[in-house]
């Protein structure tokens, strides 16, 4: 099968890659770039485990063709180590027991970070609605919802 060249910025670094037209972004990240923190749960865009940031917006990397990302900036879970919002979320996720097996966690964190930045006044109902594109089979969601609410409250200065 033919291969196509792809230039992307991945976690702040330039990458020059080649991929088959049928390759999706998650396989490119996990394979050629060894960024295995992006997990594949369904490969049809429902479960959200593969969520990455694509040009600043959360995207399902399993239904994003790698070839469509030429020129794009991609940020995977490995690219947030210096990010203060992500640091606060990680702390809150651990404190609220918002993860068990860890498989949905990277996608969940990237969605959660987007909620924090985009909806600083979100209440619990809104947080749950915004999280509804990310499935977790372990936790029952309470810890995840509480962790997001905790970081929102901290940033509003209303933490208990």
């Amino acid at each position: 099968m033919s291969r196509m060249p792809i230039r992307m910025t991945v976690n702040g670094k330039a990458a020059e890659l080649v991929a088959e037209p049928r390759t999706h972004l998650a396989d490119l990240l996990r394979g050629a770039l060894l960024l295995t923190g992006t997990h594949l749960g369904c490969e049809h865009g429902v479960c959200g485990a593969c969520t990455v940031e694509l040009d600043g917006i959360p995207a399902r990397s399993c239904i994003t063709h790698a070839g469509a990302c030429d020129g794009a900036a991609v940020r995977s879970i490995e690219g947030f180590d210096a990010d203060p919002v992500m640091a606060a979320l990680r702390e809150a996720f651990s404190a609220e027991h918002a993860l068990q097996c860890g498989y949905c966690t990277p996608g969940m964190l990237i969605t959660a970070r987007d909620i924090i930045l985009r909806l600083p006044d979100a209440d619990e109902a809104r947080v749950r609605e915004e999280l509804s594109g990310n499935l977790c089979r372990c936790t029952g969601y309470r810890g995840i919802v509480h962790a997001v609410l905790r970081v929102l409250a901290e940033r509003r200065g209303t933490a208990p």
Binding site: R30, C42, L99, C104, S132, R137, R142
Partner: protein, 783 residues
């Protein structure tokens, strides 16, 4: 001396809600699952799978030029079939070929393995194969499976049943003496457990070790090792199974897979690492399912609601094959022993059938048969209460085992260790304003209140399982504890974590015994080469069994350290004690830290006494509770459900769980287990269903068709704990991992029926989907 175990340090032992040690790697995406692991020269496998449910397989034509990259049953020389037998009288064992041989028995059955450098190319190969088959009549319904004219799935069997069990008791006099009698026909839906990570396996042959190394997303690596060695004809020492991080299990990964056997065989045959990663379509349509039960329940009660007797006819759709190691009959046959639930049932008659159908085989899912049993018993009790005109709380209080009867042996011989079941019910009800609810109902609102109460046998051992005669029987659980030369503590256990946080909780147990800070304790698990044998993580057993074993190993290790410490302190053995991570003189005059003792054993042996225990600072110890019939945690679920009369949608307004898991080793993690199970139980109650059409085609091939509860479907549950210690376990802990998934269908459907019965409607089949709710309302209007 180092200041170990300072008094103001936050608690880390048994009972502390310690944050999880494993979180750090997961939060950075640094968990390592089988799909993250690659090897140089690795080949990927894609399976050509059956497109039909029942057929004679006449041939497979491999793509031209790719004959050496496509493998069918005829190519697998020396590879046996998977057999999971049971000693139960009359059990018929199936031969499950790892690649289909002669017949196709369910959609998705693996027919050929195609290998290529990438999965995409392997799938291209599978797509280029041509299949020749002759279709046979299909058996999709478990009741129709036993009709005299049903096609036989295993042709040498007299009918399509793995096993039928009977508990006989004459109940014919009850019609004459009972104040009330109800009969209900109930169904639960076929499920897929759907952990977010599918299964997967990476197999390679190590020529130096002459060993097959199989990395697999597995709950029970030691059992997989035994099964692989038997089927591949290898010495067990030639097989090493590694389970890395496992992305959820719930029972789905407690199985020896045909795909594991095939991948392992191909790795040896091709002398290349071979990997298969299950995709979601395979998981939903091809691999083991669960939970599909059918019940006819009749119950008799006196005027006060006391049960006089129960008769049950239960069928479980076990699919086409008996899965290794739990077999095709565990789930159905278990119904005969757990149906009485937490009640003092005086008389009981029960028939169970493990039906064989043209569907994927079943596996025990979180709660195993209890979710269906609880659903059947609890909805029948509510029907009885309605007929008698008494409260749903009153009928339960009239029958629950009273606390003063504990330990209680029920009529089928189950022994409940401890607890106060009526108190759990009372506490749950006290959380609600039921007068207000009744007022809303009187005002015409479609709302209802429902209860579900049950007990969960966990960590049951040899005395329970030997009677099943399945390929594994749990015995003494072992753990190894040892100090490293720098004074760190290493624990090795054969159980494995797939989200339960054992790296944290087992460290808490060790801290409780030895006082070593949990930061200095490492849990090694998930590798048969590094850990003692264990049947693994299933049956809510890890904290009771491995927790007990770790405690015992640490206790013995502590004695060794104490003896060395006494010598270093120049004190007699009676003058010293182990406390706060150090050996101390009882008079408080001196202490020596465990680090120093470890350093002495390993690196300064000249300071050891001549009669030192040469076993050193490494102990393997075994543990089994006595009696080993299992702990019984229990819970009462209570919920208010609101029904949209126009759409049939069910909303859960308020949900309360009162739970008794005995002593909680880590309350935060226990809450997580209960809440996670509860979300799955809500899925069972309202959303999850794997339908098949008349041709045996599975109809939910994506997660847009097979509905898992999301953050908007699971309410912010209120949890209350009673902590009645089990008298039989090391710290009083009880197995609790499955409990949350057991109660929701019963409680939720009871709430729905509390709302619907005033409109002449009643729901009996799961899930309580909008279509089923509307159909029940429509039937009520016609009545």
């Amino acid at each position: 001396m180092t200041a170990v175990g300072a008094a103001d340090a936050p608690p880390q032992g048994v009972g502390a809600s310690l944050r999880r040690k494993e979180d750090a790697r997961f939060l950075r995406g640094r968990g390592r699952y089988v799909g993250d692991i690659t090897q140089a020269g690795m080949l990927e496998v894609a399976f050509l799978r059956s497109p039909v449910a029942h057929a004679r397989l006449l041939g497979v034509t491999k793509p031209e030029g790719a004959e050496d990259r496509v493998f069918t049953a005829g190519d697998l020389l020396g590879v046996g079939a998977i057999r999971a037998a049971s000693n139960l009288a009359g059990f018929r064992v199936s031969e499950q070929p790892v690649l289909a041989r002669g017949k196709l028995r369910h959609v998705g059955e693996a027919i050929a393995a195609c290998v290529a450098p990438t999965r995409a190319e392997a799938e291209d190969l599978a797509a280029a194969c041509t299949l020749d088959y002759e279709e046979l009549p299909v058996v999709t319904d478990m009741l129709a499976a036993r009709a005299p004219d049903a096609a036989l799935i295993h042709e040498h069997w007299p009918d399509n049943a793995f096993l039928e069990t009977r508990r006989e008791e004459d109940l014919s006099d009850l019609d004459g003496i009972a104040a009330a009698k109800v009969t209900r026909r109930l169904r639960t839906a076929r499920h897929c457990m759907a952990p977010l990570e599918g299964r997967g396996v990476l197999a390679e042959w190590d020529p130096r070790l002459e060993q097959l190394i199989v990395t697999s997303s597995a709950q029970m690596p030691h059992v997989i090792r035994t099964g692989l060695a038997e089927i591949l004809g290898l010495d067990e020492a030639q097989v090493r199974v590694i389970a890395p991080d496992v992305g959820g299990g719930f029972g789905y990964k407690g199985i020896l897979l045909p795909e594991e056997v095939v991948s392992a065989h191909l790795a040896m045959r091709l002398d290349r690492p071979v990997r298969w990663i299950e995709d979601r379509l395979e998981q939903l349509t091809a691999n083991a399912n669960c939970r599909e039960h059918h019940y006819v329940v009749t119950a008799w009660a006196d005027r006060e609601g006391r049960l006089l007797g129960v008769e049950v006819d239960a069928t479980v759709d076990a699919g086409a094959y008996s899965s290794y190691p739990f077999s095709a009959c565990l789930e159905a046959a278990q119904i005969g022993s757990i149906f009485p639930g937490p009640y003092t049932l005086p008389r009981f008659r029960c028939r169970t059938v493990s039906a064989c159908t043209n569907k994927p085989p079943i596996l025990p899912y979180r709660g195993v048969a209890r979710t269906g049993v609880c659903y059947a018993m609890e909805t029948t009790l509510d029907a009885l209460a309605r007929q008698l005109g008494i409260g749903t709380d009153a009928i339960r209080l009239a029958n629950l085992v009273p606390p003063e009867a504990m330990p209680y042996r029920n009529l089928v011989g189950k022994v409940f260790d401890s607890g106060d079941y009526p108190e759990a019910l009372r506490r749950a009800i006290a959380c609600f304003d039921l007068d207000r609810l009744r007022a809303r109902q009187a005002a015409g609102e479609y709302v209802g209140f429902g209860l579900g109460i049950f007990c969960e046998q966990g960590a049951h051992g040899t005395s329970v399982y030997h009677g099943w005669g399945i390929p594994m029987v749990p015995g003494y659980e072992q753990a190894l504890a040892r100090f490293t030369p720098d004074g760190g503590l290493e624990l090795r256990t054969g159980v494995h974590s797939h989200g339960q946080g054992l790296e944290t909780t087992l460290a808490q147990v060790a801290h409780e015994v030895l006082g070593v800070p949990t930061a200095r304790i490492r849990v090694v698990h998930g590798d048969t080469a590094l850990t003692p044998y264990s049947t693994g993580t299933w049956g809510s057993r890890a904290m009771v069994m491995a927790g007990g074993a770790v405690a015992e190993a640490c206790r013995l290790l502590g004695e060794r350290a104490l003896a060395i410490g006494a010598v270093l302190l120049q004190a007699g053995p009676e003058a010293v004690e182990l406390a706060g991570g150090a050996v101390r003189r009882r008079d408080g005059s001196a202490a020596v830290a465990l680090e120093e003792i470890a350093r002495t054993w390993y690196r300064r042996p000249q300071h050891l006494a001549r009669d030192v225990d040469t076993g050193g600072l490494e102990v393997t110890a075994g543990y089994r509770p006595d009696p080993d019939t299992g702990t019984h945690s229990y819970a009462c679920h209570a919920v208010i459900a609101r029904i949209d009369r126009d759409t049939g949608a069910v909303a859960l307004e308020d949900y309360v769980v009162v739970e008794d898991g005995g002593k909680l080793v880590n309350p935060m993690i226990v809450d997580g287990q209960v809440l996670g199970g509860l979300a799955q139980g809500i899925g069972t109650a309202l959303y999850e269903e794997m339908p098949f059409d008349a041709a045996g085609q599975p109809l939910a091939g994506t997660l847009a068709d097979y509905l898992l509860p999301g953050a908007t479907e699971v309410p912010d549950v209120r949890l209350d704990h009673m902590e009645t210690p089990s008298p039989w376990t090391r710290f009083g802990q009880k197995g609790i991992g499955e409990s949350g998934a057991i109660g929701p269908p019963a409680a939720i459907v009871n709430a729905i029926n509390d709302a619907l019965h005033r409109f002449g409607a009643e729901l009996t089949d799961l899930p309580a989907s909008p279509a089923r709710v509307l159909a029940a309302l429509e039937a009520g209007r016609r009545r």
